[in-house]
Amino acid sequence: MTAAILSIRGLAKRFGANVVSGNIDLDLVTNEVHAVIGPNGAGKTTLINQVIGELTPDAGTIYFDGRDITALPVYQRSLLGLSRSYQITSVFPGFTALENVSIAAQGHDGHSFGVWYPAAREETLTAASLASLQQVGLAEKAYCLASELAHGERRQLELAMALVSKSKVLLLDEPMAGMGRRESESMVQLLSMLKGQYTMLLIEHDMDAVFALADRISVLVYGKIIATGSPSEIRNSPEVRKAYLGESYASA
């Protein structure tokens, strides 16, 4: 039984009377792809925001790699090996794709107080960035400005930025958001290639993708986890069917 690399215990968060996270317990096992699904407004993005530290929970603890990170600021969690992608594309529009990834690599490569040497000439950063772009299939667009990339390419860039820093855990917030059929399929292929090498917490609405990639699935409804299990367990669970999936998946 492999140990949990990320453990969430009793996570709670409310905005006024609205409970966005209600006593959440979740374990992420090393190298598994753990999908979190649920209806809109269930609190999935808020969950990731709290894990990465952009949002402070009202209660609960988060353990990463054995240590309690609940009080750590965002950048320190990133340095420990936790990285995330955003549901709404958050690449840097004024920089090229290569520069975007290079900045991500720079964040985990010592301090950035250098004021003299041009970062673009740093061989190690550039090499690692090109490799990541290669990995996600964006190598030919390396020198295009991020603002000029198509939506799907920007989502790929987001992923490349998350990968380059050699993170232990990837928190992926709807990587396929806004993608068409073909783009989604390429993204699923890409993620399945990474399966087994990276631990991933995957938030997605695309059920085909979820069932293709996930080792385990947790279902989040109104801030509470109502079920956790293997894809077939979740597919056949009556509670989940009632709350979220609908008849078509239940009978598959």
Partner: protein, 326 residues
């Protein structure tokens, strides 16, 4: 060329324009001597000192996205250090410089710790408020002239290395400092720190999630910008032979911002271009009417409304366009 942080062809319009500008800067004093004497050197000096101050602010405003409306504070610090030390008989230029830089650094560090925790309009208002605080501090120093300011007894003494006792000497020193600052800014913008600042300017949240403690880097930039502006203040105090609380009025910070926007935000040479245009414009209008503010006010409004890329920024965009066409 390893001297340049980015590859630039010596035949590109940008290279030629900047080279021409440097040549012009170098020959102002001899030309002025023929044309009409000391007035033009003084005018050119005023332009360069403000260009230096604007360039330091551009690092924060243009590249880091930090709209500081109280940057003129450091002009006052530099000028007052010269005036006060000189008042007490201390005229060693290196001491003046050391104290001006140290004081600017300390004040920038302390105010930065407070300001940089805010963003947006709050940041603008707080930087404005801090500058105002020092303005009032200066006016309340009755011993050092208060509202009326303090005359500089004797200019900073940098002999035997060089002398700024004459305006020509001061001019060349200022040119050197300005060109060095622009060069170092150019390098900084392309360095690791420059990337962090520029990235944070578009998305702080993202930078933090990538592992960057953004506040730390912004504070470093804030202190550096303050020090360079303090240096500009020292030069201003020497130029005017006077230190006045008026140097720290927030309208002066506004002037610096106009120069940056006019010249081109987030360009290295923009602040210099902006300073040249703005100061000359101001001088010409003032020669026609005592009420030149009535004209300048609306001009500032128009600059704010229309100047998207500024003069030098538009030039760079044009250069990029013809490059693609080729």
């Amino acid at each position: 060329m390893l001297l340049f942080p980015e590859s630039i062809s010596p035949r590109s319009p940008r290279f030629i324009a900047v080279a021409a500008l440097l040549v012009v800067l170098a020959i102002v004093p001899p030309i002025a001597a023929n044309a009409g004497g000391p007035f033009y050197v003084t005018l050119a000096l005023r332009i360069l000192v403000f260009a230096l101050a604007a360039a330091s602010l551009n690092l924060l405003l243009g590249y880091a996205g930090l709209v500081s409306f109280g940057h003129a504070l450091y002009l006052g610090i530099g000028a007052y250090v010269v005036a006060i030390l000189s008042f007490h008989g201390v005229t060693n230029g290196w001491l003046h410089l050391g104290v001006a830089l140290a004081l600017s650094a300390i004040i920038a560090f302390l105010t930065g710790l407070v300001c940089l925790r805010t963003s947006g309009i709050a940041f603008i208002m707080i930087t404005l408020a801090f500058a105002q605080m020092f303005f009032f501090l200066a006016t309340s120093l009755k011993y050092y002239g208060g509202d009326d300011g303090l005359a500089v007894a004797r200019r900073s003494d940098f002999e035997p290395l060089f002398s700024i006792q004459s305006n020509t000497g001061l001019y060349y020193v200022t040119v050197v400092v300005l060109v060095a600052t622009l060069y170092l800014s150019w390098r900084l913008v392309h360095s690791r720190l420059g990337r962090v600042l520029r990235g944070a300017s578009s998305n702080v949240r993202r930078m933090e999630a990538l592992g960057f403690p953004v506040l730390r880097y912004r504070l470093a930039a804030y202190v550096m910008a303050g020090c360079v502006c303090g240096f500009a203040g020292l030069l201003l105090g020497n130029l005017a032979r006077f230190a006045s609380p008026a140097y720290m009025a927030w309208t002066v910070s506004g002037d610096l911002i106009v120069m940056i926007i006019l010249g081109g935000v987030a360009t290295i040479v923009g602040p210099l271009i902006g300073a040249i245009v703005y100061v000359i414009l101001e001088t010409i209008i003032a020669a026609y009417t005592q009420h030149w503010m009535v004209v300048l006010g609306p001009i500032i409004l128009l600059v704010a409304l229309f100047a998207k890329r500024g003069i030098y920024g538009s030039f760079l965009a044009w250069e990029r366009r013809i490059d693609f066409a080729r």
